[in-house]
């Protein structure tokens, strides 16, 4: 026997949830705005001519991942790109296009993994289904380091050399914009309000405090003196 009060509360909860879902779908499918601007990057206070490597992303709403399968390529003993934004639920391929064996691993709390060692021409992949920052490295070559930003939506922009960026198709609302560089102490943060058919313009400044990210090998220990360069 179901108590009437419990039944009423349950029905009201369902109705509210359905209404909210409907509102959200309407907003997502309706007119959108965009966020554009410029990022000025400095290295310990000195302006850098090249702002590439910075990623701008919005937080505050979720979207399903696209079917695209982004790649982080290993070549010339490095990861390309060095910062890769993906949406939670996307699978990333790690092809080795170098002439030597490489390893890909992450000791991050978001997605720890170890792809073993594999040669030129082979590729392995991992699914990233939880938002977070995933630093990836090669256990053979300590100079290889990159970051995968697993984001809750598809609204991000990779900044070009000139520092310009545009994020299109942003649903109206109050969101938080982050500017991320691997070499800054922490991401730059701005609260913004996006209106339909309008552009939010803003200028950001990111100060990078280092040129490399010190890290341990996959066992959590320093790379040996004999590590390959």
């Amino acid at each position: 026997m179901v108590r009437p009060l419990v039944l009423v509360v349950a029905l009201l909860t369902c109705a509210c949830a359905l209404s909210l879902a409907g509102i959200w779908r309407a907003r997502a499918a309706g007119p959108t705005g965009q966020v554009a601007g410029t990022v000025k990057v400095t290295l310990k206070g000195v302006p850098k001519a090249n702002a590439a490597g910075v990623v701008l992303y919005l937080v505050g709403f979720s979207e399903p991942a696209s079917a695209a399968k982004p790649q982080m390529v290993m070549e010339a003993k490095g990861f390309v790109p060095m910062v890769l934004p993906v949406t939670a639920g996307q699978t990333v391929d790690f092809p080795n296009r170098d002439t030597v064996f490489h390893n890909v691993f992450s000791a991050s709390a978001t997605k720890p993994f170890d792809l073993g060692q594999y040669p030129q021409g082979e590729s392995k992949s991992r699914l990233f289904n939880a938002p977070g920052v995933v630093d990836v490295y090669c256990n053979i070559h300590p100079q290889m380091a990159a970051t995968i930003l697993v984001l809750p939506n598809r609204k991000w922009a990779v900044v070009g050399k000139d520092g310009q960026f545009t994020i299109e198709g942003v649903p109206p609302g109050k969101w938080t914009l982050y500017g991320y560089s691997r070499f800054a102490d922490k991401p730059v943060k701005r609260e913004i309000e996006v209106h339909a058919d309008a552009t939010v313009r803003l200028d950001l400044a990111i100060d990078e405090v280092r040129t490399e990210t010190p890290h341990m090998n996959k066992f959590g220990q320093p790379y040996g003196k004999g590590a390959y360069k």
Binding site: P112, G116, N129, F219, G220, P222
Partner: protein, 252 residues
């Protein structure tokens, strides 16, 4: 008793030294993978990963059948799903008062399910096939097979069932085995749990009886080192009183 310079004692000493080195290394945990000391698990090495793994097992019996076994093997990840171990085993028997090089062999462990746990889902499996060449019975081989299933509802806990079969080619022995266990993360990288093991002889030249054992387990990982241990306690009269086992491994 062990002669002072016995092979098991030397391997034990090397293992303890390696364990101490692993514990002292400044590291955050990453290498550890097997939470059970008796049940086979579904995790395997990544491709071209290499590990040195050793077990020490004591069989404590009410009859004069006490035994100490040392098992050691390199383990190599052939692919992201298939690993190869090349074990050798020494044992000391109370009856003979001797340390014996028992057997050498090879075993393959194939993970059923994607190596990425987010793709594989909470349920994964493993098939293990092993062949052992006994040193004293040169005309026979010992064949082992296990089918293992693990359920991991969260990163904290894991539950595993393991069904096995053993046959000796001369026909002197054949048996079925069953095992299972659970392990949960507690503080840091320390996991604790429990497991059970039993076997049902189908044919035994020495009159072996069905038996069941159960007991607690723990596992710990630190950097390139992992350690797993526990003790099975005899549940049935036919079982040994206790069978403690310690496993350690170092990844390269």
């Amino acid at each position: 008793m062990f002669p002072f310079f016995s092979v098991p004692r030397m391997v034990l000493a090397i293992g303890m030294a390696a364990s101490a080195a692993g514990l002292l290394a400044p590291a955050s945990a990453y290498a550890g993978r097997r939470p059970y000391f008796w049940v086979w698990d579904t995790e395997v090495m990544p491709e071209r990963g290499v590990e040195w793994e050793s077990w020490y097992t004591e069989r404590i019996s009410s009859k004069p059948l006490d035994q100490t076994q040392v098992w050691t093997a390199p383990v190599v990840g052939l692919t992201d799903r298939l690993e190869l171990a090349l074990p050798v085993e020494w044992s000391w028997w109370q009856g003979s008062q001797k340390t014996i090089f028992d057997w050498y062999g090879a075993e393959l462990r194939y993970r059923i399910g994607d190596p990425d746990p987010d793709v594989a889902g909470p349920l994964t499996g493993l098939v293990r096939l092993a062949v052992h060449r006994p040193i004293r019975s040169r005309s026979e081989l010992r064949l082992e097979a296990n089918l293992v299933a693990s359920y991991q509802p969260s990163a904290q806990c894991k539950f595993t069932l393991d069904a096995g079969a053993v046959a000796v080619t001369s026909g002197s022995e054949s048996l079925l085995s069953y095992a299972g266990g659970g392990s949960c993360k507690t503080v840091g990288e320390l996991r604790v749990g429990a497991e059970f093991f039993g076997k049902v002889p189908l044919h035994s030249a020495v009159g072996a009886q069905p038996m069941t054992m159960a007991g607690p387990n723990f596992s710990f990982t630190h950097g390139r080192f992992w350690l797993t241990g526990g003790a099975l306690i005899g549940v049935t009269d036919s079982a040994p009183v206790a069978m403690p086992r310690l496993i350690w491994a170092i990844s390269f």
